[in-house]
Symmetry: C2
Subunit: 226 residues, 2 copies
């Protein structure tokens, strides 16, 4: 079973819609590099809590399969709950709406990765600094190297968690609807609405008198509508 590549355990084995499963580690890495927002799931008491967060991946990080990093304020309650616990990090990008010929065959085009593993608090200063740089560079590639060093106070206020990429699954759907043959034969319309993220360009802050840095301009251009 090809799922073994990405899903060494039952927890992330996709049991529904196997046809939508992507079982290629490189594809997982490419997707995680491209996507922007993660949803981190933590068990808090008797219920789950799911919060959106920035993230970054270090394929050569110390965790099995590489490390996925998230960060937050040391004062954030969810970070304390997550530390040492098993968490779920899900990254999803929506690619379109699928307007099937019946309600049942309506769907969405998307790509989604689910990573489950123990959240490790990153204490090592070098790893922490690298993880924080990676999170900045994930937003704007190359930017971390152009910024001043973080102060001790800033670092002390920031917690970093690492989750191993070892236990991961990925699903993707693309294209038009897969409808009932009878609805197709009846001549009913079916199709999809592709969606993507675009930017109209970088906006300088009111107090910014310098020109937009090259890395920021490049990042904005990568989301150009053209």
């Amino acid at each position: 079973m090809t799922t073994a590549q990405l899903s060494p355990t039952d927890r992330t084995t996709v049991t529904r819609g196997r046809n939508r499963m992507v079982s290629d580690r490189d594809e997982l890495h490419r997707f995680l590099a491209d996507a922007l927002v993660a949803h981190l799931g933590v068990v808090v008491g008797d219920h789950p809590l799911v919060l959106p967060t920035a993230y970054a991946v270090d394929l050569h990080g110390p965790d099995e399969g590489g490390s996925l990093y998230v960060h937050g304020s040391v004062a954030a309650g969810w970070l304390r709950q997550a530390a040492g616990a098993t968490v779920c990090v899900t990254v999803t990008e929506l690619d379109g709406l699928v307007a099937g010929r019946s309600a049942f065959h309506h769907s969405m085009n998307y790509c989604s990765a689910v990573v489950i593993g123990p959240a490790r608090v990153v204490d090592d200063e070098a790893e922490r600094a690298r993880a924080l740089d990676l999170i900045v560079d994930h937003m704007v590639p190359g930017r971390a190297a152009t910024l001043r060093a973080s102060t001790r106070k800033e670092l002390a206020a920031t917690a970093v968690l690492a989750v191993p990429l070892h236990e991961a699954s990925m699903k993707a759907r693309a294209g038009g609807p897969v409808d009932e043959p009878s609805d197709v034969e009846a001549g009913v319309w079916g199709g999809h609405i592709p969606l993507r993220r675009v930017s109209t360009g970088a906006v300088s802050g009111e107090d910014s008198h310098d020109r937009v840095p090259d890395d920021v301009a490049r990042r904005a251009a990568s989301y150009s509508a053209r």
Copy 2:
């Protein structure tokens, strides 16, 4: 405390970044109507599982504060785990990347709603049909009324869960970075990259010989890049 409007309990009270909290029920409803993807968090055994899903809201649904509906295959494991349990439904839309003058002040512009509550399996046939119509109409407004009725087999294959909107919180961030005054004074550039979803228009399926229906064309046009 204004959080009381949206967060009647501690579970959804935003403890970090209070300045980013939106405490207006109408704003929550507008946001949930506009956004497209929810992330549903369920506790499975000893760990959380977070999955992306379509959703819809019925402000006049039978649950306290209105009902948020998600659906899935009756054979999906997560649905069985969620039924009767407390779940977390988080809806996030990314609006931009914030390139601060320091790593610490990098951020994202976004809006996110967190709903926590007991997941109720919708057994009532009328409510189920209405919820499924709402999920289709959430993707393409007005579309449910144009489709054939779902078959008994299709309905039997679909499970619907309702979560009360009662316990909800919302956070939003917009605009440029909030930097250290010393970095602003030093003349370092700071700004942001606005992002939004656009569509290049509806795509008819290969077997579709009819023209794109008005509701689908209107929905695609609502994501026009212009």
